[in-house]
Amino acid sequence: MRKKVIFRGVALPYLLLVPQLAVTIVFFFWPAGMAVWQSTLRQDAFGLRTEFVAFENFLDLFGDALYLNAAWNTVIFSSSVAALALGAALFLAVQADKHIRGAGLYKTLLIWPYAVAPALAAVLWLFIFHPSIGLVGRAFGAIGIDWDYRVNGGQAMTMVVIAAAWKQVSYNFIFFLAGLQSIPTSVLEAAAIDGARPFRRFWTVIFPLLSPTAFFLLVVNLVYAFFDTFGVIHALTRGGPGNATETLIYKVYVDGVQNLNFGSSAAQSVILMVIVIALTAIQFRFIERRVHY
């Protein structure tokens, strides 16, 4: 799509594009290219010699138990975050969409957590779940649950999932609410007259009409859980205990920044890029399909 009427001139548009393109090339394409190039290189232990190893870094990764562990963690973490954040948001949006007193206030009180940084959300939940100072953490201890997320991997995973999902609920809530409000009232009234009770109306009419929104949000939530939750993990567990909460993105950081294993870190970056490209492609294909409703 483009305009029929335009301005003439060639130098000016290039000039207008220069800032955006300069930033894009210097900080996006150059590093991305470097990542691809580095992913085919390997340095020796002392950083003295670098050799070209083609796909060996990738092959090593797929044979590396720690990397596979991180991949598995990412799957568990992302699907849990997405399921929890989507489920809670859908439930709350359906409630807030009803014509009840105070609906506006409820809405405002439900959307503000969007503004909380993931890392900050982690710190807030730490105050709740900390085994010695946290409200819930101590309560667990008091009733005899051996609660310490710093030692127990499963508990650590539960906690990062809760903190990461908590922050994302607001975002999903806003979109679900917008989706609900875009369903014509008369369609719901028609269903009521056809005899459908609220529960049935939800599953046979509202939910199917909401499914495009839900699918869009699923992709967004997965991207969020993959990439934006670095702060949650870094602030709460640093990938531990053991490697119980080490996700792919966290491992890139650990291998690149702490272990200085550039070749492997770059290969991991490339894999992540492929994942984002795939997710974005799915999302765009779906947007094209969504037009029909």
Partner: protein, 356 residues
């Protein structure tokens, strides 16, 4: 099939009262059209009957049962919406079958009923399509079909034709009437279009500012409008109103310009000098010789077989006349057809019939 009784239904939204106590009894199999300008409360009344709104006071009775506290699902009614309100994610078949599935009818019977309705509406070949693949007229038919398959006690129509183009509207109008007669389902039809109201209804309810201004057959409402509002609302072009006073013991009216018109249907009560409003439909004015009411023509609209003349009387009152043939002169002299005069109280606007 059932009767519908609306008893003293009032509705307020906050401080705004939109219905001031409506009473209406609809017989089994009858089609009643509620007509009125937008904001007169006609849709609210329909939605109260459907159970989509709760009345502030009053009752809705279907077949003698008070259904006021019941939800729409428990009233056994079907409704056709202005926007059709088809389920966008379901096929035409599923749209029509939805209400039957909820009621737990056997699959075979659902299929049979949908087929029947589809045939009746000639949409049999569309059953596998989604609503977005249909034209406006087709969607309209599906919405009708969804109502028909249910075999409900009551059909409710909320301006179902207003989203169609003019030609299709006339066609669907006839079709709705034909179907309603054939199925003999009690129906309530809401519209703002007086032609639709006149052609569709066994009876009309003309609503004005939350009240039923008149209830009657189309011909009653047209020939004996209860007040000036109904008189001006029904009929096109609209009725002319002329200020006048009763003279000759109520047997005639003197218009403000001095012309005296005699009533052929009897004297009006109230006596000499009572201020009244005389109503005369444009088509009931005839061209006469020089002794008629002189109209200075400002605009002549030729319609072929007849001409609509817009002009002013000597005292400046605007008047419209519909006369046969071609008439485009600068001035014409007019007189009313016998028995065509309507008399209304000048203050209240209520109709004044001949006294005994």
């Amino acid at each position: 099939m059932a009767s519908l009784d609306i008893k003293g239904v009032q509705k307020s939204f906050g401080a705004t009262r939109v219905l001031h106590g409506i009473d209406l009894a609809i017989a089994d199999g009858e089609m009643v059209v509620i007509v009125g300008a937008s904001g007169c409360g006609k849709s609210t009344l329909l939605r109260i009957v459907a159970g989509l709104e709760t009345p502030t006071s009053g009752q809705v009775m279907i077949d003698g049962l008070d259904v006021t506290p019941l939800e729409p699902a428990d009233r056994d009614i079907a409704m056709v919406f202005q926007t059709y309100a088809l389920y966008p994610h379901m096929t035409v078949f599923d749209n029509m079958a939805y209400g039957l599935k909820i009621r737990g009818l056997p699959k075979a019977e659902i299929r049979q009923r949908v087929q029947e309705a589809a045939e009746l509406l000639s949409i049999g070949q569309l059953l596998e399509r989604k609503p977005r693949q249909l034209s406006g007229g087709q969607r309209q038919r599906v919405a009708m079909g969804r109502a028909i398959v249910r075999h409900p006690k009551l059909f409710l129509f909320d301006e179902p034709l207003s989203n169609l183009d003019a030609k299709l509207r006339v066609q669907m109008r006839a079709e709705i009437r034909r179907l309603q007669k054939r199925l003999a389902v009690t129906s309530l039809f809401v519209t703002h279009d007086q032609v639709e109201a006149m052609t569709l209804g066994d009876r009309l309810v003309v609503m004005h500012e939350g009240r039923a201004a008149q209830v009657g057959t189309p011909m009653e409402v047209w020939s004996k409008p209860a007040d000036t509002y109904v008189a001006s609302f029904i009929g096109s072009p609209a009725m002319n109103f002329l200020p006048a006073t009763l003279v000759d013991g109520g047997a005639a009216a003197r218009l403000s310009g001095g012309t005296v018109w005699r009533f052929t249907d009897g004297a009006r009560p109230g006596g000499e000098g009572r201020p009244v409003t005389i109503g005369i439909r444009p088509e009931h004015l005839q061209q006469v010789g020089a002794d008629g009411l002189a109209l200075t023509v400002e605009l002549a609209e030729p319609l072929g077989s007849e001409t609509v003349l817009h002009g002013r009387l000597a005292d400046g009152t605007a008047l419209t006349a519909r006369v046969p043939g071609v008439a485009g002169q600068e001035g014409v002299a007019l007189a009313p057809e016998p028995g065509a005069l309507h008399v209304f109280d000048a203050e209240t606007g209520r109709r004044i019939d001949p006294g005994h």
